[in-house]
Amino acid sequence: MSTPSKHTPLHASHVAAGARMVDFAGWDMPVNYGSQIEEHHAVRHDAGMFDVSHMLSVDLSGPDATTFLRGLLANDVIKLVEPGKAIYSCMLNEQGGVIDDLIVYRFSVSDYRLVVNAGTAEKDVAWIRKRIATTAANVSLDGRRDLAMIAIQGPRAIERASAAMPELVTARGIPSSFTAVRAGDLLIARTGYTGEDGLEIAVPAIRAEAMWNALVAAGVKPCGLGARDTLRLEAGMNLYGQDMDETVSPLDAGLSWTVDLKDDNRDFVGRSALEAKPASNRLLGLILEDKGVLRSHMKVFTSAGEGETTSGSFSPTLEKSIGFVRVPLATQVGEVIEVDIRGKRLKARTVKLPFVRNGKPLV
């Protein structure tokens, strides 16, 4: 007998809206509310929102917080100076493989929040707790399952969210990019997974439904996981579990830019493994020239050897299929390669990521 899926605080709202529900990492989540393509366009041209309460906010505080995180994460939190500033980082194992990708916010030298993926949350917390114990760091960890989180994204997201929630306007202003501010019991972050401007708001679970309804009334369109995937793909953003996992180095996943080796005196978990083994592949964007849809784990054939797609879907903005592909390092951007789709060899072109910026195609 399988364990029943978990519900976020907004589950009833999704069901009432007629969402098609699906299990995602053990949570019963909306995949669409009718048309994922319409939802995608809403985010690119107006405002859409996602229930991301299945992700976990992990508060980490104590006198050793900065030292501890500098030893835990591949990116360096020492760069976070302005209160509320955030960076995107991988958390690696000793072999240099990716345990998870996450965003870390710094509120003070002794007060941070990590936001981790739903499917890896338990694993991440166990890993962090173990490291706290082995390093005897003076920090405490608090997994905030009392919080819901709503991501409002699109060129009109902030405008519509402000109309729905007056406290956004009276707070210390809307935060700047990749920064979070507290407003009462809310944490408002100018971050997202779509390539558009917007906010991710962490809210006590008890307030979530009223907030969601106010946003709907202000014209923000509920969007599901289907649109979330096509949006992040167009924006060139990795999906943990597909584009990288514990067996993949960030260097082979297009994430070298998130690994900070500048401070020679900063050891972090996985550093020596990364320094011992440079990248052997590169992660590029792929556009299918023939008709069809790219999916993950499709074999590709390049002039430099074989590779594999890691992610794929249909791009509503480009009206073509796009994906990410792991190919030999020597593969050039702009090369036309072949993809095996259900036994047929179709033509596809490699491109630099992202595919879309500010709602406009770059390719």
């Binding site: 098609r20 048309s35 393509i37 289907g226 096509t230 069809g292 849809v293 299929s321």
Partner: protein
């Protein structure tokens, strides 16, 4: 709740079939199918003149989510393929019964009798 017109025949693989006055068959995918697939983005239809065996995979319907094969409900010869749905795949989501995919000339008209009626299909999808 899926729409299941009473005047059509159905298969377990979610195709609908309309028997025309001249005995030819018009074939599409059901409302249940389009809903399960999500936004349809591509359709590959069989060539006119192709001979199909009963149950043979003869077309592909691809949504953002997944690709699905479409099967010939009975043995026959392809009479026509609907270019309109190839050009506008989303029309199948909008109206699954108003947008046919291909037409078949059955080898044996009696084969139609073995297909499910609306009540049978309703039971079939309720059990899924």
């Amino acid at each position: 709740m899926s729409n299941i017109p009473a005047n059509l025949k159905y298969t377990k693989s979610h195709e609908w079939i309309r028997v025309e006055d001249d005995g030819s068959l018009t074939i599409g995918v059901t409302d249940h199918a389009q809903e399960a697939l999500g936004d349809i983005v591509f359709l590959e239809l069989p060539d006119v003149g192709r001979s199909l065996a009963a149950g043979e995979a003869c077309a592909v319907i691809e949504s953002v989510k997944a690709a699905s094969d479409i099967y010939a409900p009975v043995a026959g010869e392809v009479l026509a393929a609907n270019q309109n749905v190839v050009d506008a795949p989303e029309s199948v989501n909008a109206d699954a019964y108003g947008n046919w995919l291909f037409k078949l000339k059955p080898i044996n008209g009696a084969d139609i009798e073995a297909l499910m009626d609306a009540a049978g299909y309703a039971t079939e999808i309720a059990q899924a």
